[in-house]
């Protein structure tokens, strides 16, 4: 077991497991968010539950933040090692001839998603923390829908969100099915996993983009 912790394979498994965990979270996040379009009341109920349930707040939320941190720190470690493994760059390297663009640029699509997470945390998480623990405002189970719609009023924020979802889609396109390969899964189910990856990596980011556009185009009248 001591060798496992230091091995390149273990690092890839950590990357894969944290990535798959974030995929599960993304699905749950989308399921709640789409209700902000379909049924604002349900959105308020679920958002309030997520915001005040002790299990979510004190157990699941730290695990989620930990998962994000592990995923991007491990990503940086792997990238640094990979750069060291080729100290002299080729004068001519035709990477596009043998591997898709998305698989060769995971670090860049990942960096954009990370930068987006900074803005997203500022928009919603920091706001939520300030509401509850700085301003000590009372519980209001009906505020979430209006707050969310208001966030998408500025055109610039909606555009940044849409671009980020596009990059998230590219990141998922390679990352989701690749995580199975890292964990040793390459068998008769692999083609189904790849097909599901393609559907998921387009459908979920597209759904998030739809929510952002919908709220931008349908502001709440004051």
């Amino acid at each position: 077991m001591s060798g496992l912790a230091k091995s390149s394979i273990a690092r890839k498994v950590v990357m894969a497991l944290s990535g798959l965990f974030l995929v599960v979270f993304l699905t749950q996040h989308f399921t709640i968010n789409i209700t902000s379009v379909l049924d604002p009341e349900t959105f308020n109920t679920w958002s309030h539950f997520m915001g005040y349930n002790p299990l979510v707040q004190y157990v699941l939320q730290p695990i989620l933040i930990g998962g994000v941190i592990i995923h991007f720190i491990m990503g940086f470690i792997l990238e640094i090692q990979n750069k060291k493994a080729r100290s002299v760059r080729y004068a001519k390297f035709n990477g596009g001839a043998n591997a898709p663009w998305v698989s060769r640029n995971m670090i860049y699509t990942g960096l954009v998603v990370l930068a987006f997470l900074g803005l997203h945390f500022y928009d919603f998480w920091v706001h939520e923390m300030a509401y509850k623990y700085v301003e000590f405002l009372p519980e209001n189970p009906t505020r979430y829908h209006a707050e969310t719609v208001e966030k998408f009023a500025p055109f610039w924020r909606t555009i940044i969100y849409i671009i980020s979802f596009g990059l998230l889609s590219l990141h998922l396109w390679h990352g989701f099915s690749s995580s199975f390969q890292s964990m040793g899964v390459n068998n008769k189910y692999s083609s189904s996993i790849k097909a599901f990856t393609k559907i998921f990596s387009v459908a979920i980011p597209l759904g998030f983009a739809f929510i952002a556009i919908y709220h931008h185009l349908n502001p709440i009248a004051h």
């Binding site: 273990a10 890839k12 493994a85 990477g95 043998n98 040793g184 899964v185 390459n186």
Partner: protein, 248 residues
């Protein structure tokens, strides 16, 4: 045909290399790529210049010695071949051809286009073998029944010639395809089971020690491998390694 060559020249391991331009005329389309380099070298020698050093041996795609990055691709533009099987009919009159050695920290340049691939030997030595009784009364290998599918997969893995194109093609200079082929060829056979756990742990440890990069599953290695070694082998090695590590 007339070609404009850009070739990596490096005096020795300690020197800094650079691309040098050469113009070569009179190249025939039925020449092999290595014959084209032979002609260039004859010209250079006749002019009193240092010939371009490059690796070659069998010149029939078996030994894995020839190792050139040609226009940004290991073994050139054609698939499932080594450089010695590449012919000049794959190029056109007036083409510019960029020729470089494999680039990986674990494969230091010895001179010009020749790199030191002994890192592969050390990975192989770390566990790429089976211990068998070679004296007295060894059991005939044919007496051990082996499933056809397993035998075929093992043979396919064993066709790896260790040329290093997988490392050269990988954007991370990862040696996972080579190591996994060498692990798989034994892992799939009953004779390889006895030392399976020890083998995969030792070979992966050596691979990491050599300074190869991490596999990011781009699949470039599989595409460029002259023997078509499959990514399935990498997944198998990952499974073998994780199982061996967890069992301790």
């Amino acid at each position: 045909m007339k070609l404009f060559l850009k070739i990596w020249r490096q005096k020795d391991a300690g020197s800094k290399g650079a691309m040098v331009d050469y113009t070569l005329d009179g190249v025939e389309s039925d020449m092999s790529f290595l014959e084209m380099l032979d002609i260039l070298n004859e010209e250079l020698i006749s002019k009193g210049e240092e010939p371009v050093e490059f690796d070659h041996d069998c010149r029939e795609g078996i030994c894995g010695t020839c190792s050139l990055m040609i226009n940004g691709r290991p073994h050139g533009p054609d698939s499932r071949i080594t450089v010695c099987q590449l012919h000049m009919r794959s190029f056109n009159d007036g083409d510019e051809i960029v020729i470089e050695p494999w680039s990986a920290t674990a494969f230091p340049v010895i001179k010009d286009l020749i790199v030191d691939r002994s890192a592969f030997d050390r990975i192989q030595q770390a566990g790429g073998y089976i211990s068998v009784n070679t004296s007295g009364r060894p059991v005939d290998a044919n007496a051990i029944p082996i499933e056809k599918e397993m035998a075929d997969k093992s043979f396919n893995a064993a066709t790896c010639i260790g040329c290093g194109a997988c490392v050269a093609a990988c954007k991370n200079a990862s040696a996972m395809l080579f190591t996994s082929a060498k692990v798989s060829q034994f892992a799939l056979l009953p004779q390889g089971q006895v030392e399976a756990a020890e083998r995969v742990e030792n070979m992966v440890r050596q691979m990491d020690l050599e300074g190869f990069g991490n596999c990011t599953n781009t699949g470039a290695c599989e595409v460029e491998c002259p023997k078509g070694i499959s990514l399935e082998n990498i997944a198998r090695m990952n499974r073998e390694y994780l199982t061996a590590s967890v069992k301790g």
